[in-house]
């Protein structure tokens, strides 16, 4: 039976927060709470530190929150699950906190596999098991997904050792051409870091790697999936069966990084 919309939203938000929380914890950085807002402090490369969440008094809290961001007590990024919250946006802007992106919170319950054939006969899907393979996986991430930032291999090696994080790839002629990371917690699996080499985009490789990874998880009894997509990825994820349940606004206090 499908879960209520409220449950879907809270699961989509919770997986996102726990994903970053566990990464921060594994990287040895502490997390905390301020007035009902969770925050993670992450100094390990590719992921920024951020505040996640909202309270009824967000607007009232803005002077205090912005002051703490300026002092470096709270992170300068804020991910809020709030659709078209114009009052917050307007007030936040007056404190120098600006909306810089939006992610669609997507949700899917599925208990049968896709069994999609590879879009190209030379493609091979596999799960990353060794640190050496993971380093090759990271190289593709470094050129296709997070250019300009450095991924710290030691942290990813720690993630690989944790059962919650699983790394998948598509290989062509022995080289990794597409990546995907899953994070499972409380029987909910989040899909992260989907990327495909530039020259192979538009050939449904991203769809295939996502469905193939989900097939493995479904065969192991996981049937709740969430992800957080930019506008560009929406069509692909809708075709896979995901539906939009919420919208995350990504805010940033400029000059604080």
């Amino acid at each position: 039976m499908e879960h209520s919309e409220k449950h879907k939203i809270s699961r989509t938000e919770k997986n996102l927060f726990l994903f970053y929380h566990d990464i921060s914890t594994l990287s040895g950085i502490s997390c905390g709470k301020y007035e009902g807002l969770n925050y993670v402090m992450n100094t390990a490369g590719v992921w920024p530190s951020f505040i996640l969440g909202q309270t009824g008094s967000d607007v009232t809290n803005l002077p205090a929150v912005s002051g703490l961001i300026k002092k470096g007590v709270l992170p300068s990024f804020w991910i809020r699950n709030a659709t078209n919250d114009e009052k917050f946006e307007r007030t936040a802007l007056s404190y120098g906190i600006r909306k810089i992106n939006e992610w669609q919170g997507m949700y899917l319950e599925r208990d049968y596999q896709y069994d999609m054939q590879p879009p190209d006969g030379n493609l091979v899907f596999s799960e990353i098991i060794t640190n050496n393979e993971l380093d090759s996986w990271l190289k593709l991430i470094g050129t296709e997904l997070i250019t300009g930032k450095k991924a710290h291999p030691w942290l990813f090696h720690k993630l690989l050792a944790s059962k919650k994080f699983r790394f998948f790839c598509a290989k062509k002629a022995g080289k990794i051409v597409s990546t995907l990371l899953t994070y499972s917690s409380d029987k909910i699996t989040g899909i992260y870091m989907v990327s495909t080499r530039k020259d192979l985009r538009g050939k449904s490789i991203g769809t295939w790697i996502t469905k193939s990874a989900m097939d493995i998880l479904i065969s192991e009894g996981n049937n709740i999936f969430v992800l957080h997509s930019t506008h560009k990825g929406l069509t692909v994820y809708r075709k896979i069966g995901f539906t939009q349940v919420c919208l995350f606004g990504i805010y940033w206090m400029l000059e604080q990084v």
């Binding site: 909306k99 810089i100 992106n101 300009g148 940033w252 400029l254």
Partner: protein, 80 residues
């Protein structure tokens, strides 16, 4: 507002953020310039907003990837 005036102002901001060594023309895109990542893009746009006295919408901010894109938006916002 004269297009050449817009270009000269944007060029000044561009060089102050990314360095004088980077080539500047209307085809210059974020992928050509080291350090022009998504966050620097927000800073770049914010400085342009301060200079010209208007705001880019979220869509405009995300859709602009070249100097030409940015100048076209400034043109459209400052020409009445």
């Amino acid at each position: 507002m004269e297009h050449s005036y817009i270009i000269s102002k944007v060029k000044k901001i561009f060089h102050s953020l990314f360095g004088e060594h980077n080539e500047f023309n209307e085809d210059t895109s974020s992928s050509d310039v080291h350090g022009w990542d998504s966050l620097k893009h927000v800073v770049f746009i914010s400085k342009i907003e301060e200079e010209f006295g208007f705001r880019f919408s979220l869509d405009e901010m995300q859709e602009t990837t070249t100097i030409g894109d940015i100048c076209r938006i400034i043109d459209s916002k400052t020409t009445l």
